[in-house]
């Protein structure tokens, strides 16, 4: 469980996050939705400690996380997996080495065990025979999937995904969504996913938080979202004609 208590963040005097409070439950998929530039990525980076918050507190399962220094955050590090919006694979390493990297850092596994784990993770993201390729030889969607494999390799307790299925074809996108849902429930992970994808919202969202200009504008469940009368949220979700038709059914 991750708790945000009145989180605020400004860059150069521009308020990006304004007083956001919420709770993300364990074993659930927590979706953060919002338009481009609404502050989703910044909020995620605050949560994992890449960006320090200006005000407010962050709690991981009852332990405070905000305000700690690098050393004090060490124990949390092995528990956190993150999929960056751009993948952030290490260019100088092969796919296999990328996924093995956190295992080298955190575990005392033998090489064989590590290779098994790498192949297991690659399998779960539907990739085969890419072990020896370098990131530059992969397509955008493949990079995303390798990034997911790397994030889940060390069995994290907290999984952060910044738009894991943007740039993927609809079928792979569903595969990834289901994968995230599966591992979240199987390993009781606290999962937070930033997304634009309405399909994901309807398919896998347990809890949904809508960010609008850096503020928590709405939060609730999938059922709630279909019946909401929040104007901005409705405009955001039912932006397309197709979606509007779905709502009217």
């Amino acid at each position: 469980m991750i708790e945000l208590k009145s989180i605020s963040k400004s860059f150069n005097g521009r308020v990006i996050l304004n007083n956001v409070s919420t709770t993300f439950e364990k074993g659930h998929i927590n979706l953060v939705i919002g338009g481009s530039g609404s502050g989703k990525t910044v909020m995620m980076k605050c949560m994992v400690g890449l960006v320090d918050v200006d005000g407010g507190e962050l709690w991981y399962d009852g332990k405070i996380f905000s305000g700690l220094d690098k050393k004090e955050r060490k124990p949390f590090r092995q528990e956190i997996g993150m999929v960056f919006q751009g993948g952030a694979l290490f260019d100088s390493l092969t796919v296999e080495q990328n996924i093995m990297f956190p295992l080298n850092m955190f575990t005392k596994m033998s090489l064989e065990e590590k290779l098994d784990r790498v192949n297991f993770c690659l399998n779960r993201v539907n990739l085969v025979n890419v072990n020896k390729l370098s990131p530059s030889e992969l397509s955008g969607g493949m990079k995303k999937r390798v990034a997911i494999a790397r994030a889940i390799a060390p069995n994290p307790s907290y999984l952060f995904c910044d738009e894991p299925n943007s740039g993927l074809d609809p079928r792979t996108s569903i595969v990834i969504d289901n994968l995230i849902k599966e591992i979240t429930e199987e390993f009781n992970i606290t999962t937070i996913v930033n997304t634009h994808d309405m399909n994901s919202v309807l398919e896998i969202g347990d809890k949904i938080l809508y960010l609008h200009r850096g503020e928590k504008w709405w939060e609730g469940t999938v059922d709630d979202i279909l019946r909401t009368d929040n104007k901005e949220l409705n405009e955001f979700i039912f932006a397309s004609k197709l979606a509007k038709n779905v709502k009217n059914i």
Partner: protein, 246 residues
Amino acid sequence: MNWLFHLGRYWIFIKEMMTKPEKFSIYWRQLVRELDNFGYGSLGIVALTSVFMGAVITIQTVYNLVNPLVPLSAVGIVARDSIILEFSPTMMSLVLAGKIGSSIASEIGTMRVTEQIDALEIMGINASAYLVLPKVVAAILIFPFVVSISMFLGVFGGWFAGTMAGVISSAEFIRGIQDSFVPFNITFAMIKTLTFAYIITTVSAYHGYHTEGGALEVGQSSTNAVVYSSILILVFDYILTQLILT
């Protein structure tokens, strides 16, 4: 006050870098890679510039030596001392600042803008230590060898050009380079070399590490890395010469 900001941020960067590695095996692999990269990778350009530099110094010294009372072997002495004291350590460092400095800054800068550094931090890895420390150590280990090779090839270039052009005989040149040799000059050259190795790697890494933006900014960081390391090399060349040789 801009330079004060950079100075402060540079010190913080260095302090973060100088921490105990999380896992030695991983650093070791990086170190070996950089040793190969800096050493073997720069031999070609160092050899080429050193030979030509020695040749030019020798021919110019002969040209400037108009006093018939000074024996021609003095050319050997002058060429040797200027190569050892100044040209090999300083000029090679400037050449390497261009080659190695820009590649360090663009490598680390690219990692910064593509969030690879964030990915390292997420995994609890001290990115500045992991990325930079092996480079600094590699440069400090390998630069003395590179500069020694440059000294040797510089003197060789001088001998070759001098005798080829017929301005000095082989025997006179060789007598010159053996005459009144001061071993401390080598020590001094190595002190300079180590300082420059440290400057090139840390300053370039600093510029790469603090890149913000995209590909365009990576290019700017890379340029800044070369410009600032070169300026600092010249400044410290002066400071060290003043401190140690006077």
